[in-house]
């Protein structure tokens, strides 16, 4: 553990000296550039992560201009049970997700072949393939882009936190005192804006890598077309006799973790709770909707058949009466 920490602070220091990530311009892999309509996924090989938190710092630096600047005092909200979510004075919190920290490093110490081993790995929004946060957003603020990114539009979000409630990992975090709700009925509807990793959509649009991927000294993460990323995840997993998380979770995500130990085992020892997502298996949250949607195609056909049947039987009854 001490070894870990010293290694972590060493790298941190080194990076700070090097001026952190600055505005470097390492591009997306050639296969990805100009092909942003394709669904892209990230691969996270947790064996490689040393927990230096360079990615966390890079995320804050690069996305800082998207962070909320709430106006205070906040408008009084009714009824009184409505809680204010204010992170604006706790911007330096790095060990969980907040509106000012869209990525954090989770740590798990598990026994591998009788020996204790500590793993660290970045956690953030999984960018689900069929994201309930976006599907169920009543306002169209959260949505999925064709390139596999799910993002919440800060100009449109009202901060009702429904996305967080329906997200299997409860990823989005709210900041009160910003956004559109202030212009509508701030006391009675809405409560700010929800924030989470947007997978650096603006950098990706310009062919650049997400900041956390670019800055990582250990090349823990990789981004590419989902099928290629999956292929690579499988080949690593085969080679190390490992495990995959994110391929099937919630019906499929665009964040694929590869680990030499089972995720159940990691899940048991990570700190979980508000802002700290679990690593449990997750059923497809939208499966019910997909199945019922099929029934919606059949329903009108049944209705038509019933009406035609009725007309036919009344006609033949009429004939019989003659």
């Amino acid at each position: 553990m001490t070894k870990d920490i010293s290694r972590r602070s060493f790298i941190k220091g080194g990076l700070a000296a090097a001026g952190a990530i600055a505005a470097s311009s390492v591009p997306l892999p050639a296969t990805v550039r100009g092909a942003t309509q394709e669904e892209l996924a990230t691969l996270i090989d947790i064996r490689k992560c040393i927990g230096c938190e360079a990615c966390v710092e890079a995320c804050q630096e690069v996305n800082g201009r998207k962070f909320p600047e709430p106006k205070k005092p906040f408008p009084k909200m009714y009824p009184n049970r409505v809680k204010v979510s204010d992170w604006s004075d706790k911007r330096d919190v790095m060990d969980r997700l907040t509106p000012y920290n869209w990525l954090f490093i989770q740590e798990s110490t598990v026994k591998v072949n009788g020996e204790e081993e500590t793993f660290t790995f970045p956690r953030r929004c999984m960018h689900c393939q069929n994201p309930p946060c976006a599907d169920l957003c009543p306002w169209g603020a959260a949505r999925k882009l064709k390139n596999g990114i799910t993002r919440i539009d800060a100009d449109v979000c009202l901060g009702g936190s429904k996305c967080k409630a329906v997200c299997p990992w409860h990823i989005p975090e709210r900041q009160t005192g910003v956004g559109l709700y202030l212009d509508i009925l701030p006391s009675f509807a809405g409560n700010g804006v929800m924030y989470k990793c947007d997978r650096c959509y603006d950098r990706v649009e310009h062919g650049k890598l997400p900041a956390c991927i670019e800055v990582c000294p250990e090349k823990v993460q990789k981004i590419g077309p989902r099928d290629e990323i999956l292929k690579e995840a499988y080949s690593i997993s085969k080679e190390i006799n490992g495990y995959i998380y994110g391929e099937k979770e919630n019906g499929g995500t665009n964040t694929i973790y590869v680990s030499p130990v089972p995720f159940e085992k990691l899940n048991k020892t990570i700190k979980k709770g508000p802002g700290r997502p679990h690593l449990k298996p997750v059923e497809d949250s939208m499966a019910h909707a997909d199945n019922l949607a099929k029934a919606m195609v059949i329903a009108p056909i049944a209705g038509i058949a019933a009406a035609v049947g009725k007309a036919y039987s009344s006609r033949s009854q009429g004939k019989a009466g003659l």
Binding site: P79, R81, V82, Q129, N130, D135, L136, C137, P138, W139, G140, R143, K144, L145, K146, D153, V156, G160, S161, K162, A165, V166, A189, G251, G252, S285, M286, H288, A289, D290, L292, A293, A295, M296, A299, P300, I301, A302, G303, I304, A306, A307, V308, K310, A311, S314
Partner: protein, 158 residues
């Protein structure tokens, strides 16, 4: 002489009418439940209403209601075309409601499509669909109440 209401009040039609009204109330309630307001405004605190704050459950019920209504609308339309229109004609308030229902159903269909795994709409279109679905519904409820007070039905006997 039969009035328009006699027709609408006749046994089977009356039953259907109440099922329709009930379904619509459920749809309006579960539809509004898609906005995070039931918890904030104590609706889910009413004993027996805890479920109303469960977004997945209200969504499921809304979908079930939509399946029923789609079947019902298809039935009523075809029934009207095949047998009803010989003896009945729609009154103008019915046309207004049909137009609004058309709006609700169309935007609803797009909403369902948006929730499918591989369907991605543009941001503006998504917002347009979301807000107009709500708008059509609010207008429909408003007009349904007005027509209820005016005791205006849907059809008259020819």
């Amino acid at each position: 002489m039969k009035s328009k209401n006699d027709y609408e009040q006749s046994g089977g039609k009356k039953g259907l009418r109440w099922i329709y009204i009930l379904t619509f109330i459920v749809m309006a309630f579960t539809g509004f439940g898609q906005m995070p307001i039931f918890k904030r405004y104590y609706v889910s605190d009413i004993p027996g209403m805890g479920w109303s704050a469960d977004f997945y459950l209200t969504h499921y019920i809304h979908y079930l209601g939509a399946i029923f209504l789609l079947g019902l609308f298809a039935y009523v339309i075809v029934d009207y075309v095949l047998s009803g229109r010989k003896e009945l004609s729609l009154i103008s308030s019915a046309y207004v409601r049909i137009a609004l229902l058309g709006g609700i159903v169309t935007t609803g269909i797009f909403r369902v499509l948006k929730n499918m795994p591989d369907v991605v709409f543009s941001p503006d279109f998504t917002r347009f669909i979301d807000i107009s679905h709500l708008g059509f519904m609010m207008l429909y409820i408003f007009l349904a109440l007005v027509f209820l007070i005016m005791k205006s039905g849907w059809v008259v006997i020819k």
